[in-house]
């Protein structure tokens, strides 16, 4: 006598296995959805913009005439902006990470700073724009110049650098520090000569990722007040400026008036995506090549 009726089992299993296979297909299609959108997005941007990219487009100044308009000002503006953001965010981010990981006693103050940083990471970028507008552009009376925008951006991406640096510093094994102390080095000497060099690849990766976030960020700078058509190019950190994403923004909203502006926006997006792709590749390369496993 059989205790298990196998025909019944098969009957029941059949529908369950069918549901499983159906679900698997569904989950796979959902995963593909994001990738298909990515492909369409990149295809659209290339189709609209690639034909408009040439030497003149890169080196011309802005113009209302789509045939003559170029993004030289936006490229220079982006470079100047990064020249402010990179050192400021690196000093602040790495300093905070060293303090939290090496000096701060595990207590209220350090957990308060940590909570604060994770909440800061969740503040919408447009609110940072308001902070920049109120404090840097108006209260310090800098105006909407590179320095004001750069300081705002540096604060915006600070959490990225802090978290990445903290992880990199934490990954330095304790025995390296102990060896350094054993040789008679002081705490700061140990940090300066042992911990920082060992965690540098991780820190640099974090800084580059933070910069690539800053390069693509639009809202805070629009809020600080970047003019739609800025023809002079910036020569320093106290000049008015525009950057690639802001230029994309103005060309996109004006494309309802002049259809070619959509092509200019697409062409600028291509340039922006190339820059971002290059930066991310460098970050991944640094991480893979120089990161030591202890």
């Amino acid at each position: 006598m059989k205790y298990v009726d196998s025909t019944q089992v098969h009957k029941k299993m059949g529908s369950r296995l069918f549901a499983n296979n159906l679900a698997k297909t569904l989950f796979f299609l959902a995963t593909l959805f994001g990738l298909v959108v990515l492909v369409i997005l990149i295809y659209r941007v290339l189709a609209d913009g690639l034909g408009w990219i040439n030497f003149d487009f890169l080196t011309n100044r802005l113009s209302t005439d789509p045939e003559r308009a170029g993004i030289w000002g936006a490229i220079l503006g982006t470079l100047w902006l990064m020249l402010v953001v990179a050192p400021v965010t690196m000093i602040l981010g790495v300093g905070t990470a060293i303090y939290l990981e090496e000096y701060a006693a595990k207590g209220r103050i350090s957990s308060f700073i940590k909570t604060n940083i994770s909440n800061l990471a969740g503040v919408p970028s447009v609110v940072f724009g308001i902070l920049g507008l109120t404090v840097f552009a108006r209260a310090l009376d800098l105006g909407s110049v590179v320095l004001a925008g750069g300081l705002t951006m540096a604060l915006l991406v600070l959490p990225v650098v802090v978290v990445a640096s903290q992880e990199a510093i934490r990954a330095v094994p304790q025995f390296l520090r102990e060896a350094s102390y054993g040789m008679g080095a002081t705490k700061w000497q140990t940090i300066k000569n042992v911990v920082l060099p060992a965690s540098l690849p991780g820190i640099l990766t974090g800084v580059i990722l933070a910069l690539s976030r800053a390069i693509g960020e639009t809202a805070p700078l629009v809020v600080i007040g970047i003019p739609a058509l800025l023809i002079p190019v910036p020569d320093g950190i106290f000049d008015k400026f525009t950057i690639l994403p802001v230029q994309i923004y103005y060309w996109t909203i004006d494309s309802a008036l002049v259809a070619e502006y959509a092509n200019l926006a697409a062409a600028t997006i291509v340039i922006l995506l190339i820059v971002l792709f290059a930066m991310n590749s460098i970050a991944i390369m640094i991480r893979n090549k120089f990161q030591k496993r202890f």
């Binding site: 499983n20 994001g34 997005l41 447009v126 404090v135 002081t186 629009v222 926006a265």
Partner: protein, 324 residues
């Protein structure tokens, strides 16, 4: 070290400087005291640097708060939060934030209708079904999707998604809340997917194997064991996604226009809180006017909204985390 070496040298070579032991000790002490000063100074400097992040938060709260208080002197608190009419320009300006709130909530709701199911299914596929090789190929591609600047999504919504939707839905306006909502959802998919996947991957294999041994199919294991075990992380990822959608600026600014009508019709143009901030600052509102202060009141509302969402997410993932 140097001192000792010097001593040894002078002993051997008969020395030109004639340092005696006492002088060497003095010299050593001096350099040590310099070291001591740095050792004491560095932590203080670093603390000062770490405090800047706290100062940033204080700065944000203070600037928002002072100007918001000034705003509520002009416009009563109740009128602002219950007013369904927003007409910030011209004479008889009316400041009711409800149209902006509905715009924000509706666009975020559309975004989450896209991001939650697709993001969760992606996470399930990556964590439960995909082979290691496939996962290693798919994850970086999703990271690319996450790394695309929001302005690019805005361009995509305005020049691609809206025209397609308009050919499907007649009567859809050139600027509407539906298209940016959907694109915002697509933007949030990678975030929901990767956070949920992290939560599901940390469910121990023993639990899966136990269920499989009882005869459950993979779908049943996923749905009845893995997802319930990882639910805190999954819900936290949804809440963070909502917070991201509320704070998202450029997509809605570009693709949803600046109509301030109070409506629930998704085919119409609606303005979100973020888009309002961009519009008002872009117009260079003169400091001291009610229009200028309204900027801060709206920003304060936005800040409180996202802060609450982030705190909820932190609370859920801390409070309901199951440790295995």
């Amino acid at each position: 070290m140097k001192g000792v070496l010097h001593l040894a040298k002078s002993a051997v070579h008969g020395n030109n400087k004639k340092l005696n032991v006492r002088e060497i000790i003095q010299e050593k002490k001096k350099s040590r005291s310099v070291n001591n000063v740095t050792e004491k100074l560095i932590p203080k400097i670093l603390f000062g640097i770490a405090a800047i992040s706290v100062l940033t938060t204080i700065g944000i709260v203070l600037t928002l708060l002072t100007e918001t208080i000034a705003f509520f002197k002009d416009v009563p608190f109740i009128d602002f939060f219950t007013g369904t009419k927003l007409k910030p320009l011209g004479e008889n300006a009316v400041f009711g934030v409800v149209p902006l709130l509905t715009g924000t909530i509706i666009s975020s709701a559309i975004a989450m209708l896209v991001a939650i199911p697709i993001g969760l299914m992606t996470a399930i596929f990556l964590s439960e079904y995909a082979s290691e090789k496939l996962r290693r190929m798919l994850k970086p591609l999703l990271e690319i999707l996450a790394g695309i600047p929001t302005i690019v999504y805005g361009f995509f919504a305005f020049t691609f998604v809206t025209p397609i939707l308009r050919s499907i839905i007649p009567g859809l306006e050139p600027t509407n809340i539906l298209s940016p909502g959907i694109v915002m959802g697509i933007m949030i998919i990678p975030m929901v997917a990767s956070l949920s996947e992290d939560a599901m991957s940390s469910v121990p294999n023993a639990m899966r194997e136990g269920a499989l041994a009882l005869g459950a199919t993979k779908l049943e294991v996923t749905w009845k064991v893995v997802v319930p075990a990882a639910i805190s992380g999954i819900i936290a990822s949804f809440v963070l996604g909502i917070s991201r959608a509320i704070g998202e600026t450029m997509i809605v600014t570009i693709a949803s226009g600046s109509s301030k009508n109070f409506t629930f019709d998704v085919t119409q143009s609606m303005q979100t809180m973020t888009a309002y901030i961009v519009e008002v600052t872009g117009g260079e509102a003169a400091a001291g006017t009610t229009l200028y202060y309204s900027l801060y009141a709206v920003a304060m509302t936005l800040f409180v909204f996202t802060l609450i969402m982030n705190l909820i997410a932190q609370y859920i993932s801390r409070r309901f985390r199951e440790e295995y």
